[in-house]
Amino acid sequence: MIITVTPNPAVNKIYWVDKLKVGSKTQDEFLTRATRSATSASGKGVNISIFLAGMGVENVAMGFISGHAGHLLINDLRDKGVTTNFCWTSGETCTNVTIIERGKEHIPIQIDESGSGVTTTEIERFIRRYKRALSRASWVILGGDLPPGVDDKFYYRLTELAKEKGIKVVVNATGQPLTQALSAAPYLVKPDLRESRIWDEMILDTEEHIISAGKRVIAMGVDTMLISHKVAGDILVTAAGVWEVKARVEMSQLHHLIGADDVFLGGMVYKLQAGENVEEALKFSMAAGTLYAKHGASVCREQEKIEQEMSIITLEQLEGSQ
């Protein structure tokens, strides 16, 4: 069984608009009507849970939730076939807003709430629940930022607990929570570079910098480091070599970039937990992420369509023996 942990999940409200009106003076000028909207559970681990459930993989979504938005989130996950095991807290789960303007789909506007605080008692209640869940887990995926009140060593602690039981851990985060987690040597690491390409004093912009950062992380005991290079290109570093995977796709074809990265990582875990090699897993995951970015959630969970999409994926080994 796979466990995903999203400490700070959210309800994502997406509005599609023809033209976003800003800076106007009269109501007529500043009122923007959405052509359509959608509400769904979101958050790094949550998105991966939804993808895996769609692919028929049993998984359990964990984290902290609260209030009205918490109920919305949990109901959406259950409707999508995900088993839920969240820790209820006081406060209110985040609601994030995304605005997608016609013609600018590849640069959506996103407003994220920080989330309600979590108390020490609630954290310890979660840890007890997490330990119980580990008794039947094979993979754990830790994803996203931490809510106020949760210290930076949280992912380190969760990684340690899982590794004590021989469970493979994936960490998809940024800043200090990710840096701290590295000391526990998770199996796979993917820095979240949406807000900044600087992580732990490393600038992850060029191919050279990315490979150098990847090697530094692998030297710390991490098995696999996956780093986003371009919108439709990622670099993977292991002790055995370095690969670059790319999708041959026009930017104008990408309409759903929010969450595409999580589908990509979900695709990696889907293949790796089934025993596939890293090259196959990379091509499949890039195909799944690209399909999601092009068409949204519904089609990216169809194995056949993902495999068809693999025809536009190229994989190049940059270093290491063939």
């Binding site: 995900v82 807290t89 119980r132 008794s135 039947r136």
Partner: protein
């Protein structure tokens, strides 16, 4: 139809060492009226509902009177609840639990619910791990 196809796939549960106060917090926030009790490996060992807590806070002759008219005011109930809030729920949980396997038939669950007048039944796998709960509304929704 199998139970796994209709159940609510939620693992909200409690350990027997947790307090009545924590249970009330979980029930209040999650909107549930009962939760399964599990051990350290998430195996089902009991069940507890809000009714079990209310029963614990009321005098023993409450069931005989079948009403609250004998209680002079709510302070009495409030005092009693405050007295038991730190107690471990182990003291009040149901140990004889009605459960079903995830591969049991829906008809079997319907029969149990009607015969035993139960609203929520924990669902386990063949290793006794909790995998969800099945409620009356799960069944009704399926029949519509």
């Amino acid at each position: 139809m199998k139970v796994r196809d209709i159940m609510t796939k939620d693992l909200t549960s409690i350990e027997k060492e947790m307090s009545v106060k924590e249970l009330v917090f979980i029930l209040n926030n999650s909107g549930k009226t009962s939760v399964p009790v599990v051990d350290a490996e998430e195996k089902l060992i009991g069940f507890i509902s809000e009714a079990d807590i209310i029963k614990a806070a009321l005098p023993g002759y409450f069931e005989l009177l079948n009403g609250v008219g004998f209680i002079p005011d709510m302070n009495q109930l409030s005092k009693k609840l405050a007295q038991i809030e730190d107690d471990a729920i182990e003291k009040y949980m149901q140990r004889e639990v009605v459960w079903v396997y995830d591969d049991d038939d829906d008809l079997q669950v319907a029969d149990l619910m009607i015969r035993k007048n139960i609203r929520t039944i924990p669902v386990i796998d063949h290793e006794s791990h909790l995998v969800g709960v099945v409620t009356r509304i799960n069944l009704v929704r399926q029949l519509l």
